[in-house]
């Protein structure tokens, strides 16, 4: 069963197309990542799916409810964590959660129990009566995710959940997301521009650039598309000959370096090296998502960030 069906969503801001004709489905229970540089349209898409922003055309169905016709019903079943914090700084952690439970009309007794449980899970129980202003960035993010999950939504949206956090907090959040996924069979949609994040968390990834989905698949399949291994040689290479070898997927010259991708580089290394005349530097490694991104967009994600 699909948790979300997205049907041909387009969003124009003035004359610029922020999203052009996006269509895809997200399955029940999967962690789905939208990977792309800043300004690719990730947040716009999330805003539309969470009924905050109206699309110029197209629609989506979330848990059987149409985002345009039944926005309040859609909202009951989703949790959202924004890129920018939306906690109330002047209130305590517990008060923030309690108000949330009221907004989602949770019965008082259930709310109290869940607030306690969830604060314990995110290690904030001892600080439950502290004002949120005194929390670190990582703690605030943990609390926001906890809040997004409080009303037991069927789908959780996380917009850049770890942006601006230190590596330690980032790992904590990843662990927590994995745990939630395992224990609650909840569908999670996250946007990120960190490759590592998308790779370690997602069941499927959509690479989005300039308002279009350019690839959508599991991390493994995405990597297979360009070959499992990658060979980078700085030196003089007869690239036409290398390209003609049947096990080679692609040969590109970028910044004086030949980037050769293939299913099995190590096994066939001798055959490739026959056409290499001089080596100043050489590297063989497993393909990463970063390589996929580079191949698909022609640029590194950092280069596309403005």
């Amino acid at each position: 069963m699909n948790a979300i069906n997205i049907k041909d969503i387009t969003k124009k801001f003035k004359e610029v197309d922020a999203l052009s004709g996006i269509s895809f489905d997200i399955k029940q229970g999967e962690v789905f990542s939208l990977l792309g540089p800043n300004g690719a349209g990730k947040t716009t898409l999330i805003s539309i799916l969470t009924t905050i922003l109206k699309p110029t055309s197209g629609t989506a169905v979330i848990n059987g409810k149409d985002i345009i016709k039944e926005p309040l019903d859609v909202r009951k079943n989703i949790g959202i964590v924004f890129q920018e914090p939306s906690l109330d700084d002047l209130l305590t952690a517990k008060e923030n959660l309690y108000l949330h439970s009221m907004l989602y009309n949770m019965p008082k007794e259930i709310a109290k129990k869940r607030i306690k449980d969830i604060l314990i899970t995110v290690n904030l129980y001892e600080r439950k009566d502290h004002i949120v202003k005194t929390f670190s960035g990582g703690m605030k993010r943990q609390l926001e995710i906890a809040r997004g999950l409080l009303h037991t939504p069927k789908i959780l949206f996380l917009d850049e959940p770890t942006v601006g956090l230190d590596p330690f907090s980032r790992r904590n959040i990843w662990e927590y997301i994995k745990k939630v996924k395992k224990e609650q069979n909840i569908t999670i949609i996250l946007t990120t521009h960190y490759m590592e994040e998308a790779e370690s968390l997602s069941d499927r990834i959509a690479i989005i650039n300039k308002g279009k989905i350019i690839e959508l698949d599991t991390p493994e399949n995405l990597k297979k598309k360009i070959g499992d291994e990658i060979l980078i040689i700085k030196g003089i290479v007869d690239d036409n000959r290398v390209r003609s070898l049947d096990f080679i997927k692609s040969v590109d010259l970028k910044n004086d370096k030949y980037i050769i991708t293939s299913k099995e580089i190590t096994k066939n290394l001798n055959k490739i090296l026959e056409y290499v005349k001089r080596i100043d530097d050489i590297e063989i490694r497993k393909t990463s998502l970063e390589d996929v991104f580079l191949k698909m967009t022609g640029k590194k994600i950092e280069e596309l960030d403005e």
């Binding site: 905050i52 939306s86 109330d88 108000l99």
Partner: protein, 254 residues
Amino acid sequence: MNNLIQISGIKAIVLRELLVFSREKERIISSIISPLLFLFVIGKSLNQNANIGGYSYQQFIFPGIIGMDILFTSIRYGLYIIWDKKMDFLKEVLISPISRTSLFLGKALGGVIGAMLEMLIILVIGNFFVLKISILQMILTMIACGFVSFMVVTIGLAIGGGMKTMEGFGLVVSFVSWPMFFFSNAMFEISKSNTTVWALSVINPFTYCVDIIRKILLNYAQFPVSRSIIIILIWNIILSYITIKIFNRIDTQK
């Protein structure tokens, strides 16, 4: 209707406003200072010869000062929504299954309760230094001020709901609240004003607010009470309608 007015959600918003109110005591202090200055400095210095309907000038303006406190606190409260919009809580509410009508009602009630608590401080101070106030008068004043506050909070929310930046904040205070205060009967009897001031005061709904409070506290009014009540209620309805329309258009884009 059930989907428009959600009791639990409204309670959440009111509760949030009261919690914030209780933690930002500077807000209370800063907004009762000017009414008290008006009451004791202007009220006392112009006191000497005035006798309006058998009351001293200070006693005459006391209901006006109550109104002033309600006016300024309520309008400023309404404008705080710009701040909320910029960050924090509003986004959380906008994405929750709470209708904009409920959001409006919660916000407005939160503002009214805050303004009433503040007004109570002035009422008590007045009871000691200006004139004796009975319990019944206090209750009636509270009821009247509730409606007045709702009306003014709504004006603030309408303006705040439509504005995107804090820069317009001071402008609104200068161009809406001060004229509403001065072109009214808060500080003087409008029957003695010149024609322009008189005309502006008669259109100004705030005039009728002060008139009712004055009727309750001093048993002295320039207009029939029933007329004032009807005018205030009509303004409450019109302004609520407009503000809900504006709230329906708020999105989280900055």
